[in-house]
């Protein structure tokens, strides 16, 4: 299998309807997938680790909640903890913040995407999946402006199309794909390097 070596990190943002879409995509990744995947899924602040447990049962790749100052490693899908923003530090570690919600959300997709873009620049892939708000749109723009690649879930295939649509409307989304194709892209990004598909 040809494995993705075009990126140092992949960030994914999703909200309502995200569990199903994430499951669909993350199930396709092998346990030794060589790129760290970092996810913000909007979630209830009272929930502690249910999301990770549910996904782990369905996926080969290791799923865990990101810890404060934890070094970012390949072969792991990290999730932002409930009620904290997740940020990427330039030394390749996570930091958390309890700053005010951004776009009414904590964790906020924009906060993750913007800090990740500054650290990983053109070696970053940002993906927006289903959701009923517009968090992540500024993040997608920043990733693209700093040379990274961007994907939005095809709105017709999303349970809640508003979030991918808001990202697409910025004009900075390079690929518009359904969840199967996103999984395929993660495994074979070289097939898609021909520029815009949507």
């Amino acid at each position: 299998m040809q494995i993705n070596n075009a990126y140092d990190a992949i960030v994914i943002g999703t909200s309502a309807g995200g569990l199903y879409a994430l499951m669909h995509i993350l199930q396709q990744l092998p346990a030794d997938y060589p790129v760290p995947v970092i996810v913000v899924q909007h979630r209830s602040k009272d929930e502690r680790a249910l999301l990770e447990e549910v996904l782990q049962q369905k996926c080969d790749i290791r799923i865990k909640q990101a810890d404060e100052k934890e070094p970012i490693q390949p072969g792991i899908v990290y999730f932002a903890p409930p009620d904290y923003h997740l940020l990427i530090e330039s030394n390749g570690t996570f930091s958390l913040s309890f700053d005010a919600p951004v776009n009414y959300a904590r964790p906020s997709i924009d906060v993750l995407f913007e800090t990740a873009a500054e650290v990983f620049k053109q070696r970053l892939l940002g993906i927006i999946l289903t959701g009923a708000n517009s968090d992540g749109a500024s993040g997608i723009k920043k990733i693209s402006l700093l040379g990274g690649a961007t994907i939005a879930q095809q709105p017709e295939t999303a349970d809640y199309p508003e979030m991918p649509r808001a990202a697409i409307n910025t004009g900075y989304v390079q690929h518009i794909l359904d969840p199967d194709a996103i999984g395929d892209f993660l495994l074979h990004p070289e097939n898609k390097n021909d520029g815009k598909t949507g």
Partner: protein, 270 residues
């Protein structure tokens, strides 16, 4: 250390001119806050920000108040408070006189939460709570003991989940869109300015709470602050951290024992 050269230089200048040290803060957060300040105050570049705050103390005060304010709520993480009731209160009750330090108290919600818990456990009358923060505006709000009525539904739920024994409304008076915490809660609270990155220990405590403050510091500053807490605790004193914080990077890690692993409550054992 701050890697972004421009921000590093700016923060070095702030330290040089005013003595406030942010160079050991977690970079991504502090950079984000400075940028948010620049945006809301229409400052175009870091150079302009430097000109604005390094030469004008009033502007600097405004800047410092905005970038150091932390968000907080009453009985945040209710299970933490429940654990305090279960695992810490009975041991504190053996002291004739109890001193508590709430470090990084921001606008005071945690201070009033603890005062309520101590009142219900019969400890408040023989306790002094020292509540400190780097941010004077936040401390002023904490002293006033006022909060917005919109938050009360959430706070009442938190209070009940934290094992509250009375009706939450016993502890405040509502007026217009605000509520005022019961004045008697405040009798034994001392509010004062303290900068964890720079200032020393100032007393000996049986309990120190510092929740969701260390996440804003880098590993080396986290370790220094834990040492400061270590030096400020009596033998077998308790330390409560935020839900996502740990002693992992602290030189003094081995001097503490976990009392509640999940709720991040520790005891100084040596």
């Amino acid at each position: 250390m701050i890697v972004n050269e421009e921000f590093r230089q700016f923060l070095e200048s702030v330290r040089f001119v005013y003595g406030y040290d942010f160079t050991e803060y977690a970079e991504a957060s502090v950079v984000r806050r400075i940028r948010a300040f620049m945006e809301s105050n229409k400052v175009g570049s870091l150079k302009d920000l430097g000109i604005m705050v390094l030469k004008d103390e009033t502007a600097f005060e405004h800047f410092i108040q905005e970038i150091t304010v932390n968000v907080t709520e009453m009985f945040r993480d209710p299970l933490f408070y429940k654990s305090l009731r279960k695992n810490v209160v009975n041991r504190l009750a053996t002291y004739p006189f109890i001193k508590v330090w709430i470090a990084g108290c921001s606008t005071g919600e945690e201070v009033y939460s603890l005062a309520i818990l101590f009142r219900e456990e019969g400890l408040l009358d023989r306790t002094v709570i020292y509540a400190t923060d780097i941010n004077q505006d936040a401390l002023q709000k904490a002293k006033e003991g006022i909060c917005s009525i919109q938050s009360m539904k959430n706070y009442t739920e938190n209070y009940l989940k934290a094992g509250g024994k009375n009706s939450f409304s016993d502890y405040y008076k509502a007026k217009y869109n605000s509520v005022l915490w019961d004045k008697s809660l405040r009798q034994n609270i001392v509010f004062s300015v303290h900068n964890l990155a720079m200032d020393k220990s100032f007393n000996e405590f049986q309990l120190i709470l510092c929740r969701n403050v260390l996440i804003y510091f880098n590993q080396s500053l986290q370790s220094k602050v834990i040492t400061l807490f270590y030096e400020s605790l009596c033998p077998f004193g308790f330390l409560g951290l935020g839900n996502k914080e740990s002693l992992l990077f602290a030189e003094k890690q081995r001097s503490f024992e976990e009392i509640d692993k999940k709720e991040k409550i520790f005891m100084k054992v040596k």
